[in-house]
Amino acid sequence: MTITETTGSTHTIVTICGTLDASTAPDFRNSPAIADPSRTVVIDLDKMDFLDSSGLGALVGVLRRKQEANATILLSCMNPPVRKVFDITGTCKLFHIFDDTDAATDYAATYLRGR
């Protein structure tokens, strides 16, 4: 798994490439924008090829810490197998999910700034 962070003024775009499971979850948690609870992130999942419950658990934990710090996670470009993991576990309703990274960043910039 590789993580790329692109930092803007209001939020950071985090691109995850590869697999998010128990072996890669610690790296994900330690990525700077993810570890900073007050930073709103757009996570681009277009190149994520596999997610399991350990990866999902990491995402849910990060989301909770960010929401407590008045920030959030926006997910974009989720492919069907990744969506399935969210669907089965019922965690889909916790996240803002976009089909386009630009739409997610616009949403973060426009609607979430005032919060």
């Binding site: 969506r83 969210f86 309703k93 089909d99 386009d100």
Partner: protein
């Protein structure tokens, strides 16, 4: 954003898109009433709810439809798949419970692609008419909701598509689907308005009568239009279906029962001699759609869910019945051998009950229930039960038998309350109990006849 001026037939990219957004909060009543059913598959006149929305999107000219929910869509995805069955492209995505129209459009921006987009929002029934041209919705300049009700709306976003001519916008009416009551009334309305308005499942040689595959209708069963009947349905002798009856798939309506103004959901067995009027029956549950009152029971003489029979119990019962029949054959063999030629000579041996009781031989034959002797070998073969719901009846849920429970108890064997009495006895019958009842039947039958003759 500038729009391409021309619409290319065959290229769907610019055709109107449809977002169907349904939230758990609006469906919670379905989850409560039918825990095993996904609310989007709730049948309305034997057609799953979601298909009405897909139909409407297609009538409005959409070829790309996205289904959005804050709950699980996996079950729907397994059934609807990619939408190729309807010739559309169906995709799935998740939303949050609090998302409004603006969020929906934002979250699906790539899908909408700057095109005209129709948003079917909420758990509502769209009262469409397939004869009308809804494609003008794409050409119309309206944005925001154009029809709404307490549980949802039809809204539009994006630039209108160029129109060939100026057709008026057809009226759109949507009804909240917010209770069993509304579900019942909408299904009845669909049944009444019929297939000329909606795309409905089933085949019908005449209007108002749609029947699915593998439906067995007894000669004496009566169908009163309008009705809609699903697949794998058995209508047994003497049943009256309709008017206004929706029968789902895998349903058995047992003898003499009538169904009117009612909906029978999939996998339901309706017992004998029942009268269902203005009700919803689903598996073992009977519901009054007006008051919302419901009774759940697993009662083979009223309602049950249909599932496979327990084989071990059947085997035990058959064995014990066969044993009882063998003993009876042995006991009756000598009187039969002696009395049969005698009665035969007098022309008094008939198949069926012995009516005349003049001579000693006849009285004796009647007392010993010899008239049932010819049926006993069938019990040995497992074709009949020794005792059951009624002699020689043949319908699921009740066992055809040599003796009936009604004969065992000193109950009237005919009349409307006999059927109720039958239920009472058959419900609690165990194989061993049956033996006792058979002996009772043997003892009681002659007395009853005498009482009948005296009256």
């Amino acid at each position: 954003m500038p729009q391409p001026p021309l619409r290319h037939p065959g290229n769907h990219n610019n055709a109107m898109k449809t977002l169907i957004a349904i939230k758990e909060q609006h469906q919670s009543w379905v989850r409560d009433a039918f825990p095993n059913m996904h609310p989007l598959l709730l049948p309305l006149c034997n057609k799953p709810f979601i298909e009405y929305l897909i139909d409407f999107a297609i009538l409005a000219g959409s070829r790309e439809i996205r289904l959005l929910s804050d709950g699980s869509l996996m079950e729907i995805e397994e059934i609807c798949q990619t939408g190729s069955r309807w010739g559309v492209e169906l995709t799935y995505a998740n939303i949050r419970p609090e998302d409004g129209e603006r969020e929906l459009l934002h979250k699906n921006r790539k899908f909408c692609n700057g095109s005209r987009t129709m948003i079917l929002n909420g758990y509502t029934f769209i009262d469409y008419d397939k004869r009308l041209d809804y494609r003008v919705l794409a050409n119309h300049s309206a944005t925001g909701p154009i029809a709404s009700c307490s549980t949802g709306s039809i809204a539009f976003a994006g630039p209108p598509e160029p129109a060939a001519d100026d057709n008026p916008l057809p009226a759109l009416r949507i009804t909240p689907l917010d209770s069993l009551r509304s579900c019942y009334h909408i299904a009845m309305q669909i049944l009444e308005t019929g297939a000329e308005r909606y795309v409905l499942p089933g085949y019908g040689s005449e209007p108002g009568c749609a029947i699915g595959r593998n439906v067995a209708i007894a000669k004496t069963a009566e169908i009163r239009k309008p009705v809609s009947i699903g697949n794998n349905v058995q209508l047994l002798p003497g049943t009256i279906i309709g008017p206004m009856a929706v029968i789902g798939s895998n349903v058995i309506i047992d003898k003499g029962s009538s169904i009117s103004g009612s909906i029978i959901f999939d996998n339901t067995y309706i017992g004998e001699q029942l009268e269902i009027e203005g009700r919803i029956a689903s598996g073992n549950t009977l519901i009054d759609p007006e008051s919302g009152a419901s009774v759940a029971m697993e009662d083979p003489h009223l309602l049950t869910g249909i599932h496979s029979a327990t084989n071990s119990a059947t085997l035990l019962r058959k064995t014990i019945h066969a044993l009882a029949a063998a003993i009876l054959i042995l006991l009756q063999a000598i009187p039969v051998i002696i009395l049969y030629p005698l009665l035969r000579l007098q022309g008094k041996w008939k198949n069926g009950p012995i009516t005349q009781q003049a001579g000693l031989a006849e009285t004796l034959a009647a007392r010993l229930s010899l008239d049932r002797f010819p049926l006993l070998p069938k019990v040995l073969l497992g074709q009949l039960a020794i005792i059951g719901s009624a002699p020689r009846s043949n319908s699921p849920g009740c066992r055809p038998a040599v003796f009936s429970y009604a004969e065992a108890e000193d109950w009237p064997v005919t009349g409307s309350d006999a059927a109720i009495v039958e239920r009472y006895h058959a419900v609690h019958s165990t194989p061993f109990n049956d033996i006792g009842m058979t002996i009772k039947a043997l003892i009681n039958r002659p007395h009853k006849r005498n009482a009948g003759a005296a009256a």
